[in-house]
């Protein structure tokens, strides 16, 4: 990809960032909900004798884990709905008739939007950690790795949102697919609790799924120190990212093929 072809993508990402800023009320609502969830689970874990559950994690570690996984979940939002609405309303025509591939342009907008939301939510998360723990438990070897891991997670999740949105090309709607996928993400991704706490068999299945790379992997950086674990985490995410890109490209091509053969008006 040449630098010249990156310029329009940057413009799309900028538009996404501006859209998130414009949608300030939605963003503030998400921050509020993020804090409420963190407060509830802080209270819950403070009242839970974790050592009796057979876990070596402290309340502080689990709280930091949750702060990271929820950060990702809220930063992404529900962008699949945009693609679903464009397909249902036929406005996808205008996007297809652009010099930039539809999927790439859509992802660029979402990345810009998620980046803006991530910055705001990160500030909210840092505030919550400082309030509850009095410190920010930065993972080892560095916070930069956590940021890289979160960024990979966000892109991974967005790639799946794109595919879920495009399901409307065949089914006419994406919401049912999304709700199933989201529940799988929350359970197999370890949104609330790390997969290492799950029963052994179930935990192993969850770890082998792509969902683990989306939430558990970056969250685990708050649980386990060491360069080896960080490298394994990022490596796992990169592998799933490569696979997800291949899937997204295939789904986008199939959907566009369907549009150009059958039309976009439903």
């Amino acid at each position: 990809m040449s630098a010249r072809s990156l310029y329009p993508l940057l413009a799309y990402a900028t538009l996404g960032w501006r859209r998130a800023v414009t949608n300030l009320l939605d963003l503030l609502g998400n921050v509020l909900l993020y804090w409420v969830i963190l407060a509830i689970f802080w209270g819950l874990w403070s009242a839970t004798p974790l050592h009796e559950l057979g876990t070596e994690f402290t309340q502080e570690r689990l709280f930091a884990y949750l702060a990271v996984t929820e950060w990702i979940a809220f930063a992404v939002g529900l962008p699949y709905r945009e693609v679903e609405a464009e397909i249902q309303g036929g406005t996808i025509d205008m996007r297809l008739a652009r010099p930039i591939p539809f999927g790439l342009a859509t992802l660029a907008i979402w990345v810009g939007e998620a980046a803006c939301r991530s910055v705001v939510l990160a500030s909210a998360g840092v505030g919550a950690l400082l309030y509850a723990l009095g410190t920010i438990p930065l993972p080892m070897p560095s916070g930069a790795l956590l940021l890289a891991s979160v960024a990979l997670s966000v892109i991974l999740v967005l790639l799946w949102h794109l595919q879920i949105g495009l399901v409307a090309a065949w089914l006419g709607m994406s919401a049912p697919t999304f709700w199933i996928w989201q529940k799988l993400l929350f359970v197999f991704g370890g949104l609330i609790m790390p997969l290492t706490i799950y029963p052994a068999g179930f935990g192993a299945v969850a770890k082998a799924s792509p969902f683990a790379a989306m939430l558990f992997a970056p969250g685990s950086l708050m649980l386990q120190d060491g360069a080896e674990h960080a490298a394994w985490t990022i490596g796992l995410q990169l592998a799933w990212l490569a696979l997800s890109i291949l899937c997204a490209v295939a789904v986008e091509r199939a959907a566009v093929r369907r549009f150009v053969e059958h039309g976009t008006s439903r």
Partner: protein
């Protein structure tokens, strides 16, 4: 080279028939579903030269939008060939996008919650327009379409007419050589329609921009286009210069006579009395049978005239008559 060349273009949509009732749905699980073919475009051929302004008209469901979609590359034809700006649209959709501007009246290319300017900035980046060209072109378009006050307002706060004006500016920003407009004046007020028509005429004159326009507003056709392609059921009905369409299909003209007589009447072969009112007589003249001059001479000789008005039937009536398959002479005044 033609700006747009279409040869024996066909598009048939295939849909599966939905079985009725529980038994039908059950049977569907074990049998191949029946399919229904709906031809939208059939054996359509035409050529449009660079700089031409052509109206592409037909009743609802005639295949106009389907043809435009094929020409933009967002729909594959079932058979046939087409080239737009020398490119086969369905093979080179993204390259073609650099040469064409599209307005689908009901479908927005602007981002709903963002200011108009943000969308225009993005479009400039997408089409790699250099900043100085973008600034000068935007200034010209913004002035032409009077959207300077709208630039910093979110699209969601614009009226339909304001939004359509912004859409057209967005479509023209990258200076396309070919404009494909599907109902571009829908929802526009008289002033905005006039501005759009003037601008399209100027574009065609100054930059040799080719315009292919679908519209149910005959005002658009009369004021913008020099040629009319009329289709129905996906088939070409006629392809004529607008002047020739007028000449050949306007064989019936209307004459309104204002007289001093309270109950005027005039009997001439080939002339039908349409309405008789006090001091006023409206006639329909088949100009193929009776020259208009003869009617005027006879009226002057037999009646005491205060005024004569000779009118063509509106283009709308001509088109409606063609849709009905009526002969040219039957076009009502």
């Amino acid at each position: 080279m033609a700006a747009i060349a279409v040869e024996r273009l066909c598009k048939t949509f295939r849909s599966r028939l939905r079985p009725r009732g529980g038994r039908g749905r059950l049977r569907k699980l074990f049998t191949r579903p029946a399919v229904h073919d709906m031809p939208a475009v059939s054996d359509l051929s035409f050529e449009i030269a660079a700089g031409e302004r052509v109206a592409f008209i037909g009743p609802n469901g005639a295949g106009k939008s389907t043809t435009l979609k094929i020409l933009t590359g967002i729909l594959d034809p079932t058979s046939g060939h087409a080239e737009v700006a020398g490119l086969v649209p369905w093979q080179r959709r993204r390259q073609l996008a650099m040469h064409i501007g599209i307005v689908f009246g009901q479908r927005s290319q602007l981002w709903y919650h963002l200011p108009v300017r943000t969308s225009l900035d993005l479009i400039a980046a997408v089409y790699s327009i250099d900043p100085s060209t973008y600034r000068s072109r935007l200034a010209r378009l913004v002035e032409s379409f009077e959207i300077v006050d709208l630039l910093d307002r979110p699209v969601s706060q614009l009226s339909l007419g304001q939004r359509v004006r912004a859409e057209i500016v967005a479509a023209l920003l990258h200076a396309p050589t070919i404009l494909l407009l599907d109902e571009p004046t829908i929802g526009l007020d008289v002033t905005a329609k006039a501005a759009l028509r003037d601008h399209l005429n100027a574009l065609s004159r100054e930059e040799r921009t080719t315009v292919l326009l679908t519209s149910h507003d005959t005002g658009d056709i009369e004021r913008i286009c020099e040629r009319v392609i009329l289709i129905d059921h996906g088939r070409l009905l006629l392809d004529l210069p607008l002047e020739r369409l007028r000449r050949e299909f306007l064989r019936t003209r209307s004459i309104v006579l204002a007289t001093d007589e309270e109950r005027p009447s005039l009997d001439i072969a080939g002339v039908t009395t349409v309405a008789t009112e006090p001091y006023r007589l409206t006639l329909a003249v088949d100009v193929a049978a009776t020259p208009i001059e003869r009617v005027v001479e006879t009226a002057l000789a037999r009646l005491s005239l205060r005024d004569i008005v000779i009118e063509n039937p509106p283009l709308e009536a001509v088109i409606a008559a063609i849709y009905r398959g009526e002969a040219p002479s039957r076009v009502p005044p």
